[in-house]
């Protein structure tokens, strides 16, 4: 972990308590941007499962739609390459696509990847480090974006900037790895939402579909 933290000088400092940079409507402040337009995101989570299990879940990219927001399909196209499809709107049904390549693959320790072709310009790394005191694994995600169709689709259509998407996805990953499901409230009963209720729902990000975790049994 130390290596990765020191070699990304432009990444934000890891916050000491909770997640820094949030405003009261629950939207995270946008990530810092380099002079050349590159945005950096770093986040981490303590997950009470062994690194090997988490590595396997992350490396199985065809399972990414189970825990990553808006990702509808991932197809493995080679030992190190995959094709990604992401939904860009609630009802438009439009999607963007790109190819991704694994640059570095260290079983049970970490994975680094980069987009190679298509509508997204992103690269990232995930590191699985055994936590002290039998507390499972510290999972650190570092990701960089250049403004692309991917980053702007997140921002304009989901109201979530790339930083928040990465944070929410890691939260989903943790819930799936620890409990076997992702908590959801979509599909539960409620009374009439009225106009303000609907506005709030979208402000809070509740219009973004919660990934299924692959276990959805109804609804």
């Amino acid at each position: 972990m130390e290596r990765a933290l020191s070699e990304k000088p432009n990444a934000e400092k890891v916050s000491q308590s909770g997640v820094a940079g949030i405003v009261l409507d629950g939207h995270y402040l946008p990530p810092p941007v380099d002079k050349d337009g590159k945005q950096w995101v770093r986040t981490s989570a303590l997950i009470l499962r062994p690194p090997s299990e988490l590595y396997e879940l992350w490396r199985d990219v065809e399972k990414a739609p189970l825990w990553q927001e808006q990702i509808t399909e991932v197809r493995v196209t080679g030992p190190k390459t995959s094709h990604w499809i992401m939904l860009t709107g609630d009802d438009s049904g439009k999607s963007i696509e790109w190819d991704s390549e694994v640059l570095n693959d260290e079983p049970d320790k970490g994975i680094a990847w980069s987009s190679v072709e298509g509508d997204s310009n992103n690269a990232g790394e995930v590191i699985f480090a055994t936590a002290p005191g039998e507390r499972g694994t510290i999972v650190t995600v570092l990701q960089e974006f250049r403004m692309s169709k991917l980053a702007s689709a997140w921002e304009t259509l989901t109201g979530r900037n790339p930083k928040q998407v990465i944070i929410e996805n890691l939260r989903h990953f943790k819930a799936l790895a620890e409990t076997g499901e992702i908590p959801r409230i979509e599909g539960q009963p409620h009374g009439p939402r009225r106009t303000t209720g609907k506005a709030k729902k979208s402000l809070y990000g509740e219009t973004i579909a919660t990934p299924t975790g692959g276990q959805r049994t109804a609804g």
């Binding site: 539960q188 409620h190 809070y204």
Partner: protein, 182 residues
């Protein structure tokens, strides 16, 4: 079903809404036999808790009979009589393994909202605003109970509802980790 809905400050109505459904594998559905209004429901009624939406079903103190269970629910079956604690806990995170149920960091789908207000998110709660998870509460004929292996306390004695209902505001029933894994 009929449910008590928060429709705005000082505006609570009993309305007909959809019945709850199993949405996740660890969910259970209860038919409510008794439910209570808590003093803290007054904060919602008076409009002091942010992130309430009109249409939210209230109620975090309730008990009932298990009507249906998701396929990963191993501790309960149809017909069981249970009291449900208001904190929704996963049973598998570091906090739950230490029995600090209210700090569970896997049960709040709106954790980002609670981080904004409190700096850090706790567990989801029934019927207590969207920053606390936005879960529909139990002042209704039926309720969906997520992570049902963990919270519900089975009542196997013939104590009447009125003698056990108020455990819902305090007690967690969980004794063992779930063995259900992907």
């Amino acid at each position: 079903m009929k449910a008590v809905c928060w429709m705005g400050t000082s505006d609570v109505q009993t309305l007909t809404v959809e019945d709850p459904a199993i949405l996740n594998p660890h969910d259970a559905i209860l038919k409510i036999t008794r439910t209570a209004i808590c003093g803290s429901d007054l904060h919602l009624y008076d409009g002091f808790i942010p992130t309430m939406e009109s249409g939210d079903i209230l109620g975090h103190e309730f008990m009932g009979i298990v009507e249906d269970v998701g396929r990963e629910v191993t501790n309960l079956q149809r017909g069981d009589r249970v009291v449900v604690p208001f904190t929704i806990a996963c049973g598998d995170c570091i906090f739950c393994t230490k029995k600090i149920w209210s700090a569970c960091d896997n049960t709040n789908p709106n954790a980002h909202l609670m981080e904004a207000a409190y700096g850090y998110s706790g567990s989801g709660l029934f019927g207590y605003s969207h920053m606390m998870g936005g879960y529909a509460g139990g002042q209704a004929q039926y309720v969906r109970v997520p992570f049902a292996n963990v919270g519900p306390l089975k009542i196997e004695s013939d104590l009447p509802d009125e003698k056990v209902l108020f455990l819902s505001d305090r007690v967690h029933g969980r004794r063992k980790r779930s063995d259900s894994r992907r």
